[in-house]
Symmetry: C2
Subunit: 416 residues, 2 copies
Amino acid sequence: MTDFSLQSWVEVTQESDFTIQNLPFGIFSTQKKSARVGVAIGNKIVDVLELANNGFIDFDTTLFDTDKLNDFMALGRPAASKLRNRLQELLNENNDELRDSTHRGSIMVNMSEATMHMPVQVGDYTDFYSSEDHARNVGTMFRDPNNALLPNWKHLPVGYHGRASSIVVSPAEIHRPKGQTKADDAAAPSFGPTRLFDFELEMAFITCKQTKLGESIPIDEAENAIWGMVIFNDLSARDIQKWEYVPLGPFLAKNFGSVISPWVVTMDALEPFRTKGYEQDPEVLPYLKPSKDANFDIHLEVALQPENGEAQTICTSNYKFMYWNMNQQLTHQTVNGCNINVGDMYASGTISGPEENQYGSMLELTWRGTKPITLSDGSERKFMQDGDTCIMRAHAEKEGVRVGFGEAIVKILPAT
Amino acid sequence: MTDFSLQSWVEVTQESDFTIQNLPFGIFSTQKKSARVGVAIGNKIVDVLELANNGFIDFDTTLFDTDKLNDFMALGRPAASKLRNRLQELLNENNDELRDSTHRGSIMVNMSEATMHMPVQVGDYTDFYSSEDHARNVGTMFRDPNNALLPNWKHLPVGYHGRASSIVVSPAEIHRPKGQTKADDAAAPSFGPTRLFDFELEMAFITCKQTKLGESIPIDEAENAIWGMVIFNDLSARDIQKWEYVPLGPFLAKNFGSVISPWVVTMDALEPFRTKGYEQDPEVLPYLKPSKDANFDIHLEVALQPENGEAQTICTSNYKFMYWNMNQQLTHQTVNGCNINVGDMYASGTISGPEENQYGSMLELTWRGTKPITLSDGSERKFMQDGDTCIMRAHAEKEGVRVGFGEAIVKILPAT
């Protein structure tokens, strides 16, 4: 049970995502410290390696003297719970062990002095397509408003494999990708920078379990394999996608860069925000039937900031809008015997809500460019322009206390 | 220039794939030797670690004291050429350095005493769809014989991301996968073992270069990034694929197990077999236009062996039937700035030839099951049955000398 009245001796402002109830894990470095495991609280980072070096925690120091969380994740959720509980104890306002220690200075690092790195070595990456409102919007635009969802959509969490190598950590800069596109009235395709550069508001979970080829993860065991979550911006080139994606799915339209938030929020921290998902009708097959609520109430938002302008929120959505939940996704992924590894990443697909301001992509927000958005500087956007910065934020909140993800930020640079 | 008259003091039979002109790299272990780098010749393996330990080659021993070729591959093609040239010298019938050395016994290992392992740590895996005859067959069966190829097919090498974790080394045993399928006349999908279990005859290349996100590999530089090739059996569940793959492509129909041959044949060894590919018409966009021949004449075959029966060849094809070549595939993959890593794997897609006995899958050979194949034991096959073993072989040949890949073998076990 999370105690929302708990306070830390570290200053944590009302708007901070990184409360003592959260304590997400990441990889950071500073001018003096090599890349290592850290935990965020307020605007500080707890150097977990230094904690271990000085005997504050009972873990092998090599787990934290590394630029990836994989080895620690491989110990599973119980180890993460144990460490997080101990950190909550050490950071409690009534605990003086660390607060009054001579090591405090070397253990508590200012976030402003740190560089964040990719938190995990991603083995394989899957992208699902699990928001009904998103799938319905896309189906309505490109196919048939009366049959917007394809026949398989409500029977299985549709997903596809993505490129792991091009997932990078926020803040990122990504060049506008080039590729083949073909206008409907053109005889042949042409080559050049995408004209329909979009973001996709997604969340991703990361697995902490290794299975053997041939093994499946039953739905009631899926949660044990899910360690934590990040924000995921699945950048997309809509015109490249349109020309390439039939029949084998998106390829170059998606693999030029995806941006994640640097702090991995544990499922322990998200537990208080567990909620019901949409009712699933028709009934799903038995292997996909969850025995408990498995969605999470996480507020999501996207802001777009023009070059030299102010950021403006253009979408507010929620992770609870997902039709298919994480357990169903992971169970489906492995039902055929597909093996998983520690550090695999599974993104949700664009998370749109039922309202027009809850759509998680420019494609939907501007309805294929037919309803441009006006930004703070008066300029209009159908899709993203060079110089724009896309900022995604996510947090859960209870009793005035936030458990948040920070930001996934990407600036769009011109094509090379 | 390859000297096809070159002979080794190691016995190499006429039918051996592993001549002194080949010298493919792999990872092996024995009861006494931990997994390490080896090179195949005849029915022997040269223990490259022991070669280095005893000063026969001028390389850092740590490159070979490992269960993956990645570190050695990362040195690029020139390092592989240098080592391969030195091995050709050491194994030459006129050279006594190794032949008459007291270390010969510890360096030359009997293949029959070795276990082969995955040769590389695969970062990302892409599967292309680059054989015109295959694409045309599939389009004819499932769409329209008059418009069998989709509009994009001749303008770009269609590809999609696959699952790296489930690529395993031959000989393998794979359980029949389970999943959702839906009969055309059924109201809802059902769950169970695939009924349409297929192989796909493919070849894959492996990259030896790491690029940064945003970088592209021009077509004339693609070859420098391609280290070698293996046979690739892209096992497929056709009924699962049919129900799941619209709109985002194959997922669980393909990621339950792919089987590769254990020996990586270098592009140096394949150089004498370079040949013209199909003429590309319409003309491809400039970024895909190769300046030289970039296909390879590699004979391919598939045999199917029923439980307790004789293996029977059911398909003979050739890698030269590829419409899109490797350089075009890799250039296309990176033209949007997608980064690549050492050890990435890129499969060709099913390689079918124009003749009916050259089709690279059961789907095509039996034309969706309408023309069953009769096996040596008199039994019929529309698709693969439990207990069947699928054996793929590949070799190039010139002046009676083979440069071959060995075998990719998989036995089909019943669903779990």
